[in-house]
């Protein structure tokens, strides 16, 4: 009884002297009490032995570690990591950046472990300063080329990926000797931006939304009081249709997405991107990669191919196509109806999410078209919380990288499904605090400023409901 009285008195004093603290909303953090909410194939895939075998082969390739030579050849000569699944791992393969101390404890940032794990040699590579064990997996880009003195030149846009590591020094790299890009100089001159891996759960649904549905949704949002928001689409440069994958919706399909990532992130040439990739500067200099860094796998190009000698669908299929199959067949995350905060809070937060205007861009769901792949992708409800449009996000988030039709401050509305178990937020993983991520939507030039202002007008308990809803996804 004494304890209860003491607690009550303490609570009263807290409320009296720290009223803001007593009622302030906070990010509930990564949801850990409902199990891992993603990473399974569709039921219709599991029910079909052939499809399931295909999915499992894709999963195996997705999580496999590549080497320069040997059974899984082709890594490098430049790369960001040696496995899709190492970067896309939180909370399950297909996800995004992991962290060691956060549910489900996948492990430290794998890029921080490459020397310890023997993926790169410490005498020829250093871990860049922006890669931390408890930080996000990062891809680095230099928005502009440097002149010969090391000054970024705003008249020479770059924006391409600057791979973090080289194979130099590895026994299987033979005499290939490459330098890492000048990350310190890029950091000192603010000529560097980052991207973190986008989760690919439910990506097959996004791929299967017809352009007409996206256009109709855009027109529907234009009817309602749009409170500052008016997005557009990025388009595939070949056929003009709406592209949809990547932070700027620059990739048309999962196959392209997989082929580009295999080439850019792991340095493995494939049937879509058929050469080993030099850094943007190496290409612009007209020299490309040095001859002694080419064909390190010794198998010729492309390094990843369709295997005419295979004996089944999965052994015939290239790694790139298997990655694509894995992503297509990976089900959307399952939200919780009760955690965090309870069912009432989540339901309330969902309505608030719509009421203040978040749902204008973060469209809660869209319907897919008929699928020739598996029935669960067909006429399905994709609870993606995205309109797949690119929006101006203002000076606060601008990265000054142009991709396709997207300019330096335009980003695809990030799908929010699975957000409850993500650790790092925004394109560069700058924060782990969901509230800070919401606030970052507001800056000069951002379409979301007015909506963020409406969010600010909510009471602390309403904001808490909205945060709980987002962490329930």
């Amino acid at each position: 009884m004494k304890t209860i009285k003491l607690a009550s008195a303490l609570a009263f004093l807290m409320a009296l002297f720290f009223p803001g603290m007593a009622f302030a909303q906070t990010d509930p953090g990564v949801r850990s009490n409902t199990g891992v909410n993603a990473g399974q194939p569709y039921a219709s895939v599991s029910a079909n032995a052939n499809d399931l075998a295909f999915y499992q082969a894709g999963f195996a390739q997705f999580t496999e570690h590549q080497t320069v030579t040997g059974d899984n050849p082709g890594l490098g000569p430049r790369f960001n990591l040696d496995s899709c699944g190492a970067c896309h791992s939180q909370p399950a393969p297909g996800g995004t950046s992991p962290a060691v101390g956060v549910f489900p404890h996948v492990g430290p940032n794998p890029q921080s472990q490459v020397i310890a794990n023997g993926v790169v040699i410490g005498s020829t590579n250093t871990i860049p300063f922006f890669v931390q064990p408890n930080g996000p997996v990062r891809e680095a880009r230099f928005p502009f080329f440097f002149d010969r003195f090391g000054n970024p030149n705003p008249n020479a846009p770059n924006g391409g990926v600057e791979d973090l590591f080289t194979v130099s020094g590895r026994a299987d790299a033979v005499s290939c000797n490459l330098q890492q890009p000048s990350f310190n100089a890029a950091g000192a001159t603010r000529n560097m931006i980052f991207r973190i891996p986008t989760p690919v759960f439910g990506a097959g649904l996004i791929e299967n939304i017809d352009d007409s549905t996206l256009l109709a949704n855009q027109a529907a949002q234009a009817v309602f009081n749009r409170v500052g928001i008016s997005g557009t689409f990025n388009h595939n440069g070949n056929d003009g249709t709406i592209s949809r994958f990547g932070w700027k919706a620059q990739n048309k399909s999962l196959m392209i997405f997989a082929g580009e990532a295999y080439n850019v992130e792991m340095g493995i040439s494939n049937e879509l991107f058929t050469q080993d990739r030099p850094l943007p500067g190496e290409d612009q200099l007209g020299s490309g990669l040095p001859a002694n860094c080419l064909n390190l796998a010794g198998v010729g190009y492309p390094e990843d191919i369709t295997h005419s000698g295979g004996t089944s669908a999965s052994t015939v299929t290239s790694d790139t196509a298997l990655f694509s199959v894995f992503m297509k067949f990976l089900d959307q995350p399952t939200p919780s109806t009760t955690s965090p905060g309870g069912a009432t809070s989540i339901a309330n937060g969902r309505r608030l999410f719509s009421a203040v205007g978040c749902a204008i861009c973060h469209t809660p769901s869209l319907t897919t078209q008929a699928s020739n792949l598996t029935s669960d992708l067909s006429k399905a409800t994709a609870n993606l919380f995205s309109d797949i449009e690119i929006h101006h996000m203002g000076v606060g988030l601008a990265d000054n990288v142009s991709q396709g039709g997207a300019g330096g401050d335009q980003f695809r509305t990030a799908p929010l499904w699975g957000l409850g178990q993500r650790i790092f937020f925004l394109h560069d993983g700058r924060t782990t605090d969901l509230l800070a991520a919401i606030e970052a939507h507001q800056s000069s030039g951002s379409e979301a400023t007015a909506v963020e202002e409406f969010f600010d007008l909510l009471s602390p308990s309403q904001k808490q409901d909205l945060l709980n809803f987002l962490r329930s996804l």
């Binding site: 928005p143 080329f145 440097f146 002149d147 010969r148 003195f149 090391g150 000054n151 970024p152 030149n153 846009p157 770059n158 924006g159 600057e162 330098q179 000048s182 890029a186 001159t189 603010r190 000529n191 109709a216 949704n217 027109a219 529907a220 234009a222 009817v223 309602f224 409170v227 500052g228 008016s230 557009t232 003009g240 850094l279 500067g281 200099l285 309330n348 309505r351 719509s354 009421a355 203040v356 469209t363 809660p364 869209l366 409800t381 000076v395 606060g396 601008a398 000054n400 039709g405 300019g407 335009q410 951002s446 379409e447 400023t449 007015a450 202002e453 409406f454 007008l457 909510l458 009471s459």
Partner: protein
């Protein structure tokens, strides 16, 4: 001879200097050892240096819809001919995005300043939607607001249906709605100027605050044409006519030649002079190479003169380049409604 030798020497020196300069600029690099440059130039922060499709104009003199500013406790916009006074407790912290490719403009985003003493804060959004490129099948501001009302989903409650009111001696359409769950109220007041719906959106938890903001609109100055249906230019400004660039009015047409194949819509607002020539071009959203190609083409267009009461008048209209114009559509049944 001496003269010739001196000239030759000068040429050699000039060539040497140019080659040095070229080497100094050098080829573009991703990186390298820059330790010999202890004081490199640093890129500015919070600046958009790489713009995609963006707004621009053929001249810097003709006022643009997005050209308004908040200064000295007032929002003023020369294009729309309006001035809207703010009390000292209201401020613009962040400017809006560039115009959209569907003709939507965020003109100003105003909020309670830190000095605001009221119990509830609020926000004021001043926006415009042109009738040239709107995705909504509406012919005037009144119809646009009616569509807003019709598209309200179940989470909102209509507090006052669209109603004609008089503000600052001009007719506006007023529409109030609220969200019971968010306990927020939106009061929307709109009028039409130069074929644009100009919209004031007041938002707060406190209806008294919102109402006081509506009352303060009475101090606003507006052009004579302003009205939810009537605002179609004329007088001191061009007459605005949607789709004036249809075939029967275009006497000479030259298609732009684009160097690069792109797929973005390029909405272009033009002013045609009394002789039928294009005198001003405003690109709402275009890449620089697209703007250049379109400007080169439009300079060769000739329009049928527009007559009002037998006299030629200037005309303002919109033309969509790039993607084929999309027909205005109604609300999708395929998209979820939260």
């Amino acid at each position: 001879m001496n003269m010739h030798r001196r000239f030759s020497r000068s040429l050699v020196l000039l060539g040497f200097s140019i080659s040095l300069l070229a080497r100094a600029q050098g080829p573009p690099q991703s990186g390298g050892d820059f330790s010999s440059n202890p004081h490199p130039s640093v890129l500015p922060s919070n600046v958009i240096l790489v713009k995609g499709a963006w707004s621009s104009a053929s001249d810097s003199v003709t006022p643009l819809p997005e050209g308004g500013r908040v200064a000295n406790n007032a929002y003023s916009n020369q294009y729309f001919g309006l001035t809207y006074s703010l009390s000292q407790d209201w401020t613009e912290k962040y400017s809006g995005p560039p115009p959209s490719d569907s003709g939507y403009y965020v003109l100003a985003q105003i909020r309670s300043a830190d000095t605001f003493k009221g119990t509830s804060r609020g926000s004021i959004l001043i926006a415009a939607q042109d009738l040239f490129f709107t995705l909504t099948p509406a012919g005037n501001a009144l119809e646009l607001i009616n569509y807003d009302k019709e598209s309200l989903n179940r989470d909102y409650k209509v507090e006052q249906p669209p109603t004609l009111v008089t503000i600052a001696n001009h007719s506006f359409v007023r529409f109030d709605y609220g969200s019971p769950v968010a306990e927020l109220h939106w009061h929307v007041l709109a009028t039409q100027i130069r074929c644009h719906m100009v919209q004031f959106v007041f938002t707060s938890r406190d209806t008294k605050l919102v109402e006081s903001l509506v009352e303060e609109m009475g101090k606003m100055t507006l052009p004579a044409e302003a009205g939810p249906i009537s605002g179609r230019g004329g007088g001191e400004v061009p007459v605005c006519i949607k789709d004036y660039a249809r075939d029967e009015n275009v006497l000479e047409r030259v298609d732009p030649i684009f160097a690069e194949r792109r797929f973005n819509p390029v909405p272009v607002r033009i002013i045609i002079d009394k002789q039928g020539k294009v005198k001003h071009i405003h690109f709402l959203s275009a890449f620089p190479d697209q703007a250049k190609a379109i400007a080169d083409a439009l300079s060769q267009w000739r329009f049928r003169r527009c007559l009002r009461d037998g006299e030629p008048v200037e005309v303002e209209t919109g033309i969509m380049f790039g993607r084929a114009p999309r027909p205005a559509t109604l609300r999708s049944t395929n998209a979820a409604t939260e």
